[in-house]
């Protein structure tokens, strides 16, 4: 059973890469969404699933990446834009990380949310002071190229999350999640590892944000830093299951497809389903979809 999971992952990635060749723009759009949410949820899991520090503010990394990308896309080669979009949120994470990661439990959750909102309002203020009310993007790559970039990010985030979990680094992060005081007594440099996990977790979302802005063709700070992005990431990861790398993939696929069905016509209904799923899984199915599948597989 378990040997099939990597194969399924490879098939999924190939499907994503092949999507544009069907000649159907809608399929390309869906593939882009699925890859985007996989990349975001996997990145989130590098910090939150491993250490138990639940971030409800990943929109800030996504937004920062999108913002710097929009500022430089007309003047720099695209790979450079992507590189800076990934590095900018990593630098931001490195700067705020130490004080933020001293805060634990539910306070960490609400702090990440507040921090993301603070940055959102600051960027909105800067933009309106510059007299800008949304920026159009004229030199974005084609939708197909954007999709291939995004699939690349989804694969990179998945491999990264897998590597973290199976490394010495991941063992230290798991120790922090289980008991931070015991961990440091055993020599785990808790502050440093948490900071590294945050930085690792912030990088790919920045690049994802850049691609997302290119795809929509405009940038508006209220939307780029929308807290709904953070909330959706958390819901996907928790519903999918945080004990394995395939959990966030399952959650991302499920909700990205649900979003396609509901978002354009019934956005509120989609959000209500998201909220209900989050509550239901946290309370009654804490192991998530992947945990349920594992148990079924084990019995069969």
């Amino acid at each position: 059973m378990s040997a099939l999971w990597p194969l399924a992952g490879i098939a999924l990635a190939l499907l994503g890469v092949a999507a544009p060749f069907g000649g159907n723009a809608y399929a390309t759009g869906i593939a882009f969404q699925v890859a985007m949410w996989i990349a975001l949820a996997q990145s989130w899991s590098m910090l939150s699933a491993t250490t138990g520090y639940i971030s409800l503010g990943h929109a800030v990394f996504y937004g920062i990446g999108g913002y710097v990308a929009v500022l430089m896309v007309d003047a720099a080669p695209f790979p450079a834009v992507m590189l800076v979009a990934a590095l900018a949120p990593a630098v931001f994470a490195a700067v705020v990380g130490l004080p933020v990661l001293r805060v634990r439990g539910p306070y960490f959750v609400i702090l990440t949310y507040g921090l993301a909102e603070l940055v959102r309002h600051v960027v909105m203020r800067i933009e309106s002071a510059l007299g800008s009310f949304g920026r159009m993007i004229f030199s974005a790559p084609s939708p197909d190229a954007l999709l291939w970039w995004m699939v690349g990010l989804a694969v990179a985030a998945t491999l990264g999350a897998w590597a973290v979990r199976h490394s010495r680094f991941g063992a230290g992060l798991a120790a922090i999640r289980e008991d931070e005081i015991a961990a440091e007594t055993l020599g785990v440099p808790t502050a440093r590892l948490k900071l590294l996990a945050l930085i690792a977790s912030a990088t790919i979302p920045g690049a994802v944000g850049a691609l997302a802005m290119m795809r929509t063709g405009y940038f508006e700070p209220g939307q780029a830093f929308d807290p709904v992005v953070s909330f959706t990431i958390v819901t996907m990861a928790l519903v999918g299951g945080t004990d394995s790398v395939r959990g966030p993939i399952l959650g991302a696929i499920g909700f990205a497809l649900l979003s396609e069905a509901l978002w354009s016509n019934f956005p509120q209904l989609y959000m209500i389903v998201l909220g209900a799923a989050l509550i239901g899984f946290v309370l009654f199915v804490p192991q998530g979809l992947s945990g349920v599948l594992d148990r079924k597989g084990g019995r069969a």
């Binding site: 539910p106 702090l111 309106s128 989050l278």
Partner: protein
């Protein structure tokens, strides 16, 4: 500039916001103190209270003072539903209680998203408002609308009423005992479950009443609640989680800081100011406020 800052007008505005903040935070603090649950959906109860007042007034011309009672009852009912439906069994079992406390914020965020979007679905996202008692009176050189004066009076009245009740009524003693030492309170015969249920209903009801007061002077939207949640968090973190009296004072203090801060800059900085204080307080004083000193 200095004239504006020294005017009674500004002080009055600060006191009105402060009284509302104190009231909203009071409800959050009650629930946190007794249940150790951080209710991030708290501001959405303010939103519900505001819609109750709006519809009652618009459809049947029911005065907001009557809506105050109905909103309180409705939100108390919601509190009961949340407690009985989600948290009772969890809190009763220590192993699960640990998990629920850690996840309480995520759970309440889910509830918040549901409430906001259900309201948007039912009432659309367009802002609403109504006019009631907006006659301007001038008193000692300060001009104010009657509804703002009423807001200040009612909000402050409820705050100090609740404080007096906690101090002088037997139930208040039990509640304060639960806030301080849950296990010990149980030993001396406090019915924890009853205290928790009543508190969550009271906390929700207070937020609903605050919503009615807010609706008299501000626009009503499905997403108006979240800023109140953040403000309430700032207030109770500054005042001390579970410390009800200090929270009321901190509420007034935040109203002053916010009003004067905006007067010195511009209204565009309001969110930055509030979130800045929030982030600053959480980052600078996490150890003093949340984690006990490690002495093992």
């Amino acid at each position: 500039m200095v004239d504006t800052l020294l005017s009674g007008q500004l002080l009055f505005a600060a006191l009105v916001s402060g009284s509302l903040y104190a009231l909203v935070a009071l409800g959050l603090n009650l629930v946190y103190g007794t249940l150790r649950l951080l209710n991030i959906a708290h501001g959405d109860l303010v939103m519900i209270g505001a819609y109750v007042a709006f519809w009652l007034f618009t459809l049947w011309a029911v005065p907001p003072l009557v809506a105050l009672v109905l909103a309180a009852v409705l939100c108390a009912g919601l509190g009961w539903a949340v407690y009985a439906g989600l948290f009772r069994r969890m809190l009763a079992k220590p192993a699960l209680a640990k998990r629920v406390e850690a996840n309480s914020l995520i759970l309440f965020y889910g509830i918040s998203v549901i409430l906001q979007n259900a309201a948007a679905l039912a009432f659309t996202a367009s802002p609403r408002a109504y006019r009631w008692l907006d006659t301007v009176i001038t008193w000692g050189g300060v001009s104010m609308t009657l509804n703002r004066l009423l807001t200040l009076g009612v909000a402050a009245g409820i705050c100090f009423g609740v404080l007096a009740f906690l101090r002088f009524h037997l139930f208040g003693w039990g509640l304060r005992a639960v806030i301080q030492r849950k296990d010990a309170a149980q030993v001396v015969g406090v019915n924890i479950e009853r205290v928790q249920l009543i508190t969550i209903c009271a906390g929700f009801a207070v937020a609903g009443m605050a919503g009615v007061l807010v609706s008299m002077t501000e626009q009503i939207t499905p997403f108006m609640g979240f800023p109140f949640t953040i403000v309430a968090f700032v207030v109770i973190i500054v005042g001390g989680l579970g410390n009800i009296g200090a929270g009321v004072l901190a509420g007034f203090a935040l109203g002053l800081v916010e009003t004067y801060g905006i007067a010195l800059t511009s209204a565009g900085y309001r969110s930055i100011l509030i979130y800045g204080i929030f982030v600053g307080v959480l980052m600078l004083r996490p150890e003093g406020l949340f984690t006990k000193a490690v002495r093992t």
